[in-house]
């Protein structure tokens, strides 16, 4: 599954990263813009 940062458009690809988005720590932030997890939506 893929998740997109609603602020900057960065896409987190679970397959490529090998870690489910839900399993990322709560303080994980978008590597592109620093937005928190809640700014991501599944696409």
């Amino acid at each position: 599954m893929k998740w997109e940062c609603m602020i900057c458009g960065y896409v987190y690809d679970e397959d490529a990263e090998g870690v489910k988005f839900e399993d990322l720590p709560d303080d994980w932030v978008c590597p592109e813009c620093g937005a928190p997890k809640e700014d991501f939506e599944q696409i």
Partner: protein, 401 residues
């Protein structure tokens, strides 16, 4: 205009744009205009802070000439590389080939891609300084206010902050460049909120971060690159902080309703009046927009600040009326999330607007409390239902916190 001295040897050197119809190619400024502010610091070394859009080149250069020979400029600080502030960059480089452009690492990379210049470039990051003589520039990374590369510049001696897009607004400058010289700031404050909701709102979290970082500085004057200069910086900082909080703390939104409607043949419009009456009777501020006739730029500030939204839309080819869908699309991309909502609308045969709306509301995280649909023209009973709907919604909003 002519250059205007802000503090000894620091000048405003901006341009008023009263002829462009659209800012960023989308936001109307035909009536309001906009300014691109640039600043000159004429010390032992000469620095320009931000340039302007690539219009009125001669005017811009003539203004610099009132203070210094443009060929002798030592530094051009690129706080933000969006072309409304860098449009003049090639001209500057031709006139002053020795000039050193200053910005973040990201600006260096982006500048190259946008303008393909071979220039002197000095990379700065938070805390770095450049001494011009008695004036000392300090730099602060403020990413995503407005683009990822953005920095703010603070001048230590005069205590002026140059934050580029942050604390800016639409509205060409009138008789003064200083906010404190206006009898009435309503126009500029309204245009600052429209600008905030159109341009900055999506990056509210970053805006708050930037405000917290910059608040540590002893700021006497805020000199943004659009709109007025604030010699009472708290006034504009407080406004921006409030607007940014609407984005990060939805409970801080104002009690009020953005009332969006559209109607092909008047059936939905008829109920609009009834619902609005219900709301107004309960004393809730209501701002009504015919979405087919109002540019979304003017709707966004209300959507941004008010907690409530009413959506009055008929069915059109089994979906929402397209201008309504457009407003919701823009609200989605601007991250205008967390609103309380009701909807009403007429349909002709099997409807479909409601089905189209619901997934859109999910994306927006807007909470739909009730909706009311009827076939064709509203009956007297429907009018009553509309008014009751408005009243219930008003009560819900009043009891919200």
């Amino acid at each position: 205009m002519v250059c205007i001295e802000i503090t000894p040897n620091i000048y405003w050197n901006g341009l008023n744009d009263r002829t462009s119809d659209l800012f960023e190619g989308i936001w109307p400024i035909t009536k309001e205009g906009v300014s691109y502010n640039s600043y000159i610091i004429a010390d032992e070394k000469v620095a320009l802070i931000d340039l302007v859009k690539g219009i009125k080149t001669d005017d811009f250069l003539s203004q610099i000439e009132e203070v210094v020979d443009p060929a002798t400029v030592d530094y051009v600080i690129i706080n933000h590389m969006e072309p409304d502030h860098t449009g003049m960059i090639k001209t500057m480089q031709k006139i002053a080939p020795q000039v050193t452009f200053v910005g973040s690492e990201r600006t260096k990379q982006m500048l190259d891609k946008f303008y393909h210049l071979n220039t002197n470039f000095k990379v700065v990051k938070t805390g770095d300084t450049i001494e011009l003589g008695t004036h000392i520039l300090e730099f602060y990374d403020i990413p995503f206010v407005h683009w990822p590369e953005t920095i703010a510049t603070y001048e230590r001696t005069s205590k002026i902050l140059f934050p580029c897009d942050a604390f800016g607004g639409y509205g060409a400058l009138g008789g003064s460049i200083f906010a404190d010289e206006y009898e009435d700031l309503d126009f500029y404050k309204e245009e600052a909120l429209r600008y905030y909701s159109n341009i900055i709102a999506k990056f509210s979290r970053f805006t708050l971060k930037a405000i917290n970082l910059l608040k540590e500085l002893d700021i006497r004057i805020i000199a943004p690159s659009h709109g007025l200069i604030w010699r009472n910086p708290k006034e504009i900082i407080d406004l921006y902080e409030r607007w940014a909080r609407y984005g990060t703390e939805p409970e801080s939104a104002e009690e009020g309703v953005t009332f969006l409607y559209a109607s092909m043949y008047g059936n939905t419009e008829k109920l609009m009046g009834a619902v609005a009456q219900g709301l107004s009777q309960e004393g809730i501020p209501v701002k009504i927009f015919d979405v087919a006739r109002t540019h979304v730029s003017y709707i966004l500030p209300y959507l941004w600040k008010y907690r409530g939204v009413v959506i009055g839309s008929p069915t059109y080819e089994a979906k929402l009326f397209p201008p309504m869908a457009y407003v919701l699309d823009i609200a989605t991309s601007k991250r205008v999330i967390n609103k309380e909502v009701i909807r009403f609308g007429s349909y002709g045969w099997s409807g479909g607007a409601q089905r189209d709306l619901e997934p859109r509301l999910d994306k927006l995280k807007w909470n739909l409390l009730e909706f009311f649909e009827w076939q064709g023209g509203p009956t007297l009973e429907d009018f009553q239902k509309g008014e009751e709907l408005g009243k219930r919604f008003a009560q819900h909003l009043k009891n919200f916190n």
